[in-house]
Amino acid sequence: MSARILVVAEHDGSKLNVSTAKAVTCATRVPGGTVDVVVLAADASAVAAQAAAIAGVGKVLVVENPANQEPLAAVYAPQVAKLAAGYSHVFGPSTTFGKDVMPRVAALLGVSQVSDIMDVEGTHTFKRPIYAGNAILTVEVPTDAPVVATVRIASFEAAPEGGSAPIEKADAGVALPSHTRFIERSGATTGRPDLQSATRVVSGGRALGSADNFKIIYALADKLGAAVGASRAAVDAGYVPNDLQVGQTGKIIAPELYFAIGISGAIQHMTGIKDARTIVAINKDAEAPIFESADIGLVGDLFQILPELEKALG
């Protein structure tokens, strides 16, 4: 049986989220598979064109409906479940979008979901982290039922552009509920790179001591063109907003370069940066566990080191 994989696109109405191209990469690793992308939107024209340009995509299905303006799981899931007919696999990114929608799709299709695929071993065999990444499970799922999965986006590179897949209108033809209503979204529009997809990230911890002191983290980040992150301790102390938290209960990221500044390196934080290419740790405590996992460590006072570093970087 050859695999037919449907990837559910994540987007904001005008721009395709890079998580989609990463989920496509995961899908292309399924042996003998063909990969289609489905875009649900009020007006899908811009996003569908971006999806069609991803290399390896066979076709893009477009479901346009005013009800699809916001990505409400209760509205999206029945449509995805309907369109899943004829597909052997349905993948979504393991972002807050995919984590919301995909398990609802799985339940409608009568299967449990494979959460956070980090590696594909076969058409029905996958690796995924359990216990906050402290163990890796290889799981084999039945071949006689659809496979619904989320893809751990830190584990896959984005599929490159260069495709020119045909775009087809689709009609899910299902009744949609009105019991869930979008009110508002508030968030960081900082002009800085997005933490989840940035290639460089500078994170600060409790040692920063105050929200005001965090400005030296922002200054270094701006010098490097990096996104800003934080440890859970720094978030809990109110130095920075929640959406900057890196770690098991925050964002799991995989930048090329990660600066952990004044962060001790609790397991819960390290889980979020396991796949970072190079970790630089700056901490005044030479015994901090962060130095066990850092590629480059520097012991010292961050308030002295950071301005120096900023200067040295020109």
Binding site: I130, P142, H179, S186, D243
Partner: protein, 249 residues
């Protein structure tokens, strides 16, 4: 009766350092401290606060697990839950089976709100709330960091990758809670004594028409690849040098 149902999973305590079994069949849980899944504790706390505000009459704690799970349900009762149900099984049920059991209980108990943790910290599936909402054909709100219950509706703020999202959902609904919704209360000794008298019903999994076990097969469980220890530099100049050498700046 305005009832809130809360899911309580027995998991390896979050402070325990996880070790993989030498035969790669799972992680070591023998002799390891077990606790209520921390996210479920937050769900329970929110249910109790909702009741304390006069917006609910009863908090029902539900768990699925081995006989020892009674310990976690007693803790839930000591925190303030009014009664508890244990669906007893030694099988490790997959999320869809858990959701099906919870569906049956919800249909019998008719809660106006089901509160669950956003994920259990053992298998990190993060599926049960969404699946239960789908099976009940009701609204879901995942990763809630703020909850306001008004007449027949709830206004919920969810933590999403881009910040915060606010939804209005009709009740009944299924909600999963995130870390920052509240800080769970500590249990006091008199409450532990009182909890011993609260009702805890034990039911058999067979009563729910849900199969034991899973169609998902564990091939193996391995420790994650270790990161190799890096280098220490003595000052900023060396740090910049090392970064340049790696072509990172």
């Amino acid at each position: 009766m305005r009832r809130i149902m809360v899911g309580v999973k027995r998991v390896v305590d979050y402070n325990v350092r996880i070790r993989v079994k030498p035969d790669n069949t799972g992680v070591i849980t023998d002799g390891v401290k077990m606790s209520i899944n921390p996210f479920d504790e937050i769900a329970l706390e929110e249910a109790l606060r909702t009741k304390e505000k006069g917006l609910a009459d009863e908090v029902l704690a539900v768990s699925i697990g081995p006989a020892d799970t009674q310990q976690q349900l007693r803790t839930a009762l000591a925190m303030g839950a009014d009664r508890a149900i244990l669906v007893q099984t030694d099988a490790n049920l997959p999320p869809l089976s858990v959701a099906k059991v919870l569906q049956k209980i919800a249909e019998a108990e008719q809660p106006f709100m089901v509160l669950l943790g956003k994920q259990a910290i053992d298998e990190d599936n993060g599926q049960t709330a969404q699946m239960l909402a789908a099976l009940l054909d009701r609204p879901q709100a995942v990763s809630c960091s703020k909850l306001e219950v008004t007449d027949g509706k709830a206004r919920v703020t969810r933590e999403v990758d881009t910040g915060l999202e606010t939804l209005e959902i009709d009740l009944p609904a299924v909600l999963s809670v995130d870390l920052r919704l509240n800080e769970p209360r500590y249990v006091k000794l008199p409450d532990i004594m009182k909890a011993k008298k609260k009702p805890l019903d034990v039911k058999a999994l067979g009563d729910f028409g849900v199969a034991e076990g899973s169609t998902f097969k564990t091939v193996k469980v391995e420790p994650p690849p270790a990161r190799s220890k890096g280098i220490m530099v003595k000052d900023v100049a060396e740090l910049v040098g090392a970064l340049k050498q790696k072509g990172l700046v």
